[in-house]
Amino acid sequence: MAPETFLLEEQQSATQEKPQEPKRTENFVFGIPQNGLQQKQREVSQDEPPPLPANSELTYIGKPTQRYDGPAKAMGKGRYTADVNLPGMLYARMVDATIPHGRIVSIDTSEAEKLPGVRAVHVIEHVYGLAELRDPKQETPSRYPVIRYAGQPIAGVAAISQQIADDAAKLVKVQYDNQPFVVDRTEARADDAPVVFPGPADAAGSAGGGGGPKDVPQKGNVHGPQRKQVGDSEKGFAEADVIVEGEYFTQVQTHSALETHGFVVDWKPDEVTVYASTQGTASVRDDFADVFKLPKSKVRVITEYMGGGFGAKFGAGNEGVVAANLSRKANAPVKLMLDRRQEHIICNRPDSHQTLKIGAKRDGTLTAIQLTSYGTAGVGTGAGAAGPATNLYKCPNLLTEEYDVFVNAGPGAAFRAPGHPQGCFAFEQAIDELAVKLNMDALALRDKIDENPARKVERQLILERTNWRSRKPAGSDAGPVKRGMGIAQSVWYRFVDMDSACEIRVSRDGSVELMSAVQDIGGGTKTILAMVVGEEFGIPPANVVIRIGDTRFPIGPNSGGSVTAGSITPAVRNAAYQAKQKLFAAVAPAFGTTADNLAVQKGRVVFKNDPSKSYTLKQVTAKLPTNEISARATRAAEYSKERLIYGGVDYVELAVDTETGRVHVEKVFGAHDCGRPINPTGVINQINGGILQGISYALFEQRIMDRNAGYMLNANLENYKILGAREVPEIEVALVENYIAQSSTDAAGIGESAGIITLAAAIGNAFYNATGVRMRKIPMTPANVLTALGKVQGEVQA
């Protein structure tokens, strides 16, 4: 989700509010414990639960809690989409393009259909995931979708075994009429470059974000600029005492989720059941209804366990649509998982070439920021990288111009903090460079220019808990192995998905269950929901049954842009609170009291006027006159319309071997905030993961395209290097509680700001501190490092 959509979200919540509704005033805990907690008055709806106190006063929320489905995962019992085996199920394989650009002359499926065991073949009529021409008439009519990247889906085959499906896929004969292609961003910008689209084309984002601007100019393959202007940057640079300027290059990173994208579709006339490896059951249901013109009531989406998405798994995708068509044709359930090569090709984080200029006064005050970025999202858009430059620090004069460059390669997709790791790599290194020029400490400069109170506390933690104070001047180690320290800061935004609902049932036997369509993609959503319900009823989270990931339950948010915790937990707390009030009202007469005299305190139901009267939940529910009570709640509007951000500051210690060009990250300390942390265990685990993905991005990962043949050379896990156990440094994480008085839980997600944004920049800054040389290009492979150090003649920056 791009920062620009922030206002839209606010408007959405505003429209959902009922203006006439009577409100009540409540005092909420507010601020950061290190600064002393305060109270914030808010007007809230009558059916909102009372404010939660700080985590230190709660029983379950805020306490490290074991993962709800940990035993199932550790024992291999979790049923992922790839694991779904249905009676009579067929296995499918996607057939994809072997050329990077051209038209399909003919497709012959007869050999494939004749192969014993093949049950259905489906040729794609419309391919999803690519930018679409603004004026479709600019394309010469074609019977089949035009091929614009090697690996573009063409057809699918379903058979009684995966082997037969694989064999049949190879028997589908496709004849192409080749067209000139370009896979290199720089070459694609040339006037005489082959054009990927015959006219202006735009790509929409997904529920996870990504996608680029529409209505921007397009010349050849260059789509943009999207221009943002505040003040007058020329004037700002004229006022500056110091200016830093530089070019930065980042690479294409693939998502590499361990479970590939995939679906099991069981198409029946009365209901289509879709098992999806998705970050959004709601987004899949929307797409299936849309593509197949089905009422949503006839589409059921199930995601019980999900093997990683990182932003790229929303909606039906080509694989979902093909699986559905095959299931319909074969009249049997069909499993279609992409293979590893296909997974690498169909989604990625776009690359970037950024030109950045920052002006400042002698005391550090920023006077102007100017950023021009070119990036390629292949046949998609969404390569903008201006988020950090725009949103980290206040600056009166700002000009950013973001261009997408089309090339014949797989489409970019939302990927953990879209645009921000790229932008931060440039921007936070430039801020570091500015500190050097101003002869200021890098933390002190940020204290001067950064207004965010949470990051201020985070910087203080770095001063207190790392070796920052003993940092040596840049490049002062004598030997060939040089050590350095660096920091970088991140920014992410509070988004709320109002389509967040749940139902809570309480039975006479004391059992409590929660139902929502929201999915747990690995962040630990099941666990935090159990904690919120447990807190309300005074029962251990493990005693709450969590049933999620099924669209038969109330709608849940799509897990993109770190929205899940902040969107669904208030709905869950509200439902739990309302169910509890119903319970109290139903049983109060049996206890000879009134509902408003009953409360949950320290895990017991007590009389407010006589704490000696104290019962377990089970003793209370036993008095229910009916078998069950339930309550359903939807996300209430945010309590205020403030624009809120989250962030973090990450500190890196590393060693650079200047003879081999190898960079060893030795220690990372991350201080992060995400509203009220519900389960610190899960939050810290996600931050560890973000830090490691960030190191992997900075040092190892890189999609390599064959410029002559036009396909991805390393679409596998042995040549596309991602960080492994051997490259894991010592990691320490500090969580900063930040109470924002925005919802009944104040929870927020951590997925985006969890280190992935900062690490490349922090490593770059530490590299500079170690060597005195600025790394302006990632990945910091030995080749790129030795080139930067002037030890070898490198290729021209691209």
Binding site: Y68, G76, G308, G524, P540, P541
Partner: protein, 218 residues
């Protein structure tokens, strides 16, 4: 990998020779593959390309399955025996998600043909626990939250449990070495290291740990 047993047919080499329509292979006996004491095959004959009945001993139970000679052990476990705890991620031996034990040695099920596992003792993630009682490494993974999406977890657990079998007192570096072939995209390595070291230390004590942090309601 030093831990990988000598498998007579590498899958890739085999498939290269086999092609699509002539998926034949050369083994001693189609129905009852016998090996000598060192596990070596001799007196080869040609089988396939059609499916053939074999018997696999998995988690202490013998299973009769009919598979083509080109079926991997990973696929056979998942598709034929519905033992889906063993995950397939790269399907070519570069991520270790499919790690199972073959005769107690951690091995890649995606690089092992099912017909090559005949006569061997196969242990999968499902065979590591006893009912709801987790193996100490599994319990420690839960205790330390050594997982996020959980897709790499079974392979990680099999690698770490095998480490403790051969080295009950590993150092951090031993753990890193043991899982150096196991990829985790969520980045849970620090927790995996801590869990495995803890499991080694707590071997006896954690053996009974099953449930979440919570007790029963008073």
């Amino acid at each position: 990998m030093a831990d990988t047993p000598k498998i007579e047919f590498s899958r890739r080499g085999f498939l290269k020779g086999a092609g699509i329509t002539a998926a034949t292979t050369v083994i001693e006996s189609a129905n009852a593959l016998a090996r000598d004491a060192k596990g070596a095959l001799h007196g080869a004959q040609t089988i396939g390309p059609d499916a053939l009945p074999i018997k696999l001993r998995v988690n202490g139970h013998e299973h009769a399955v009919t598979v083509e000679p080109r079926y991997t052990l990973a696929q056979t476990l998942r598709d034929n025996l519905d033992l889906t705890g063993t995950k397939v991620v790269c399907d070519r031996g570069s991520c270790s998600a499919c790690t199972v034990w073959i005769d107690k040695v951690p091995s890649l099920a995606c690089m092992t043909l099912a017909v090559d596992a005949v006569g061997r003792e196969i242990t999968t993630i499902e065979g590591l626990s006893h009912g709801d009682t987790m193996h100490p490494v599994q319990a420690a993974f839960v205790k330390h939250d050594a997982m996020q999406c959980g897709f790499c977890t079974p392979g990680m657990v099999m690698s770490c449990a095998a480490l403790l079998e051969r080295n009950p007192n590993p150092k951090l570096d031993d753990v890193k070495h043991a899982v150096s072939g196991n990829l985790c995209r969520c980045g849970t390595y620090p927790k995996i290291f801590a869990a495995t070291l803890d499991a080694a230390q707590q071997h006896a004590q954690v053996a009974g740990l099953v449930t979440l942090n919570a007790g029963t309601e008073a």
